[in-house]
Subunit: 135 residues, 2 copies
């Protein structure tokens, strides 16, 4: 997977800040979502999520603008800035890796899952157990 | 207040990381604690707090070692790395200011309170209302 140009505008300080934010109360999420119209009957949904009170939605909007990808979702008192596009999530986490501490292991696993996604199209059995088993 | 040498070992990336952590789920705390043996019957307690599950106390110990000041407190399932020494809190927040976003205003107020502390020894009325009223 070679998409190393999308997020090159993020400076080391911005990446370190975002890593601190995610380590503290952000989320790296890997989900298997049932999809009956898919060949293997599920979709692998991988996302990075920054959450804040909706009263501070401006802050999430600012983050989204800085990153240049993703979207902001409002859910009652809380809102989230969410990255879901696999190639963006992968590059973002790769850039964050040198700064992450608490969630470095989850980030590495998520990157690995995304990098193995093409093989999943060929063999479900080959892909799912070895990546998700370590989550 | 001139103590700009205690935390000069912290790099921009470390400061940006810690700012992200504090913006996400850290705490800047200003308390008035009753102390009957004090001239004005209270102590102003200012602190910066990083919290994590006690199962990840190693992470807080690592932060404390990096900063070189403060202490780690264990309270049941959660633990905190706390900075309480006024001159350290002041310098730390001054260094974090360029990176803080959500808690920049609180940090500025906390710095102001600490910088005004000497005048509080002379006049309680002069000091308390103008700083704490904005909290």
């Amino acid at each position: 997977m070679n998409n190393k140009a999308k997020l090159s505008h993020l400076t080391p300080e911005m990446l370190a800040y975002m890593a601190g934010f995610i380590d503290s109360d952000g989320s790296l999420i890997a989900q298997l979502v049932r999809k009956n119209d898919y060949i293997f009957k599920f979709q692998i949904r991988l996302s990075v999520q920054f959450s804040q009170r909706t009263s501070r939605k401006y802050y999430l909007d600012m983050l989204r603008k800085e990153v240049g990808y993703g979207h902001v979702v409002v859910r009652a008192n809380m809102s989230d800035f969410v990255l879901t596009e696999a190639r963006i999530v992968c590059e973002f986490l790769q850039l964050l890796l040198p700064y992450l501490r608490i969630k470095k292991k989850q980030a590495n696993l998520m990157i690995k899952i995304i990098q193995e996604l093409p093989s999943a199209r060929v063999s479900k059995e080959k892909f799912i157990p070895k990546s998700f088993a370590k989550w």
